[in-house]
């Protein structure tokens, strides 16, 4: 689900090898405690919260994958969960992508180290469901997840989201851009970067969509977004270096389009070296996106996997995401109930207007446009 650099180099080489390993071992769940948590679709179904905690503690471990500690506050999330329930967390390939996660589920099927829980781009969550890789489960707070942000049966459900934002190094850039159209200003020559290729990186793809909204496009038409970047490139403002914490720190990519919770995390890191990193959500290109949670059908620790979901969707878990600048999926309900962390809420960058989300069909159409046009028009 995230940017990848060196890891994919290894993946290119090993993809063929790991694939040969699948299908050899079809055993079911490995280290389970013998109960039927693997089949439980809710806490009541499995015998209540106390039973779940007990079963998860007996399993003693949880395998997570592709969760960078500096992403949406996952570092704190994992630590808090591990301490609270005394469960050891094995975090595999933190910088992996959604596709890597699905590959791991299929190729490590039946092994103790297979992932228990997944954090995926929604399209990949749907694919996982279609390929029969997910176990349906409804957390206790299920009703507070807005409809349309969850699969009706609980195969996947959105977890947290954010808006595309313009991160800007205030120490290098004289006047930080506030809108997408500002980026075309000649004073930003060679400074505007994305976090990857939009055909591969989700935030970059969302960046193209935000550009489209600011450039006369809509959710049915992402084309003007590609036009915008072509224009940006011709104006000499586009910086082809894909942003990473290292390029941001060195000043190589002074202006970066990325999710607001990631730019917020960079700001925190840069404050330590006396560099100011400002985060602006562009009013002319308001585009939001959510990621989705799912439980692997072949989870070696089925109870711990379900306890993890209960924790994520509890007030405590949702507030940890909020503290990292991400907008948890239950935020509206929590604001109404007054259980959302007020300080963290106030620290979110201001957003004007309300974002709409693309449907599955709109998303598929947009991906077709970007995959066929981006590499054609932006490279060379």
């Amino acid at each position: 689900m995230r940017r990848t650099t060196l890891r994919t180099a290894v993946a290119v080489v090993t993809a063929g090898l790991t694939l040969t390993a699948c299908g050899s071992d079809d055993g079911g769940s490995g280290g389970g405690s013998g109960s039927d948590w693997a089949e439980a679709t809710s806490v009541e179904d499995g015998g209540g919260m106390d039973a779940l905690v007990e079963a998860a503690k007996a399993e003693g471990e949880l395998n997570v994958i592709a969760l960078p500690p500096d992403w949406a506050n996952y570092g704190e999330m994992l630590e808090t969960f591990g301490e609270k329930y005394d469960i050891e967390i094995n975090s595999a390939s933190p910088d992996g992508s959604s596709q890597d996660e699905l590959n791991a589920v299929t190729s490590q099927r039946g092994q103790d180290r297979a992932p228990d829980v997944l954090d995926l781009g929604t399209a990949f969550a749907r694919q996982a469901q279609a390929q029969d890789l997910t176990a349906p489960y409804k957390v206790q707070t299920w009703d507070e997840i807005p409809e349309g942000q969850r699969d009706p049966d609980g195969h996947w459900f959105n977890d947290y989201g954010g808006y595309i934002s313009i991160g800007c190094n205030d120490t290098i850039v004289a006047e930080c851009p506030q809108t997408m159209q500002d980026l075309l200003d000649p004073q930003y020559a060679g400074q505007v970067a994305l976090n990857g290729n939009p055909t591969q990186a989700a935030a970059a793809f969302a960046g193209v969509w935000a550009a489209s909204l600011s450039n006369g496009g809509d959710l049915d038409d992402i084309g003007p977004g590609v036009d915008f970047f072509v224009q940006l490139k011709e104006a000499g403002n586009f910086n082809p270096v894909e942003s990473t914490p290292a390029t941001i720190e060195s000043g190589e990519t002074p202006i970066v389009l990325d999710w607001d919770y990631l730019n917020a995390a960079y700001a925190e890191g840069l404050a330590e070296i006396d560099t100011e990193w400002t985060v602006a959500v562009p009013s002319d290109g308001l585009f939001g996106g959510y990621y989705s949670q799912a439980i692997s059908k072949f989870a070696p620790h089925p109870a711990a996997a379900r306890l993890w979901q209960e924790f994520l969707y509890s007030d405590e878990g949702q507030n940890i995401w909020l503290a990292g600048g991400a907008r948890p999926v239950r935020l509206t309900s929590m604001e109404d109930a007054g259980t959302a962390d007020a300080d963290a809420l106030a620290a979110l960058p201001p957003v004007e207007g309300e974002a709409e989300f693309p449907s599955q069909e709109q998303e598929t159409a947009a991906k077709d446009v970007v995959t066929s046009r981006w590499n054609e028009e932006m490279s060379g």
């Binding site: 993946a11 290119v12 959604s98 060379g380």
Partner: protein, 273 residues
């Protein structure tokens, strides 16, 4: 021999077969149903992917020739230096280190020096008014030369040392000019190893990934970058089979180049006997 063939079968043939099979699988982006199709092969030969192959081939050919010519010149110069034993050892050691200096560290070394916010960039623009973009095909070729030239020196030095001084003396005694010596004696003896080393540079640059990824992202069309993007996508569902089709194309291209090399080598050997 048996262990060697077993090794080859497991780590070369098997992945190749998997690759060749998977390249013909497709996933429907809406229904997620999988099926067989030759659509991937069609897709990878045209449009942006076709241009990526052309870009990769161009970059590899240019950097291989630059690396081979400069590396050969450096190797000849080092061997020819009088009282050059210390110099030779230093150059060899440096080449050994630099030939393995690639990937993200190399890209960052260049970024920090002549990138947008680089130390030397500021110097050049402030004092000389020069502007230079590292994020171009030319920039990439310069960065690649940084490890290709030392690689050439390492691979060609043994062949140069095999060129016995007696041959030169014999040619001189028979009244051959310098040009004639290289044309009829030195050149033919050196041609196969030089060609082989050039091939090595070509393959090395054709397969390079991390340096380009860190330096130019998607702005320069290269096959390896496209493969990586397809294999671990966060955006497009089912793109990994397209990546495998792209990889299969690379295998075919390298196969063709190797066949060409084998043919040329046979010709030069016939010429020698």
């Amino acid at each position: 021999m048996a262990p060697f063939f077993l090794y080859l079968a497991v780590f070369l043939l098997l992945p190749l077969v998997v690759l060749a099979v998977e390249a013909f699988r497709v996933t429907d982006p809406v229904t997620f149903e999988e099926g067989w199709s030759t659509a991937n092969l069609g897709t990878v030969t045209e449009g942006a992917y076709g241009r990526a192959y052309v870009g990769s081939l161009q970059l590899s050919a240019i950097t291989a020739v630059i690396g081979a010519v400069l590396g050969l010149a450096l190797a000849v110069a080092v061997l020819g230096a009088r009282r050059g034993r210390l110099l030779r050892r230093m150059v060899l050691t440096a080449a050994g280190v630099l030939a393995n200096f690639g990937g993200v560290p190399l890209a960052f070394a260049f970024l920090a020096t002549i990138g947008n916010a680089g130390v030397v960039t500021a110097l050049l623009t402030d004092t000389l008014g020069l502007s230079f973009s590292l994020y171009s095909m030319t920039g990439l070729a310069i960065v690649y030369s940084y490890f290709l030239i030392p690689l050439m020196v390492l691979t060609i030095l043994p062949a140069l040392e095999g060129l016995r001084p007696q041959w030169r003396e014999a040619a001189d005694n028979l009244g051959a000019s310098g040009w004639q010596y290289w044309r009829y004696v030195g050149g033919p003896v050196l041609a196969p190893p030089v060609l082989g080393a050039t091939m090595l540079l070509f393959a090395s640059s054709f397969a390079a990934y991390a340096t380009a990824k860190a330096l130019v992202g998607s702005s320069i069309p290269l096959v390896t970058l496209q493969i990586a993007d397809s294999l671990s996508s966060n955006v497009v569902v089912g793109a990994e089979n397209l990546g495998k089709a792209l990889a299969l194309g690379m295998v075919v291209l390298v196969g063709l180049v190797m066949a060409f090399y084998a043919w040329v080598q046979r010709r030069t050997q016939r010429w020698l006997t």
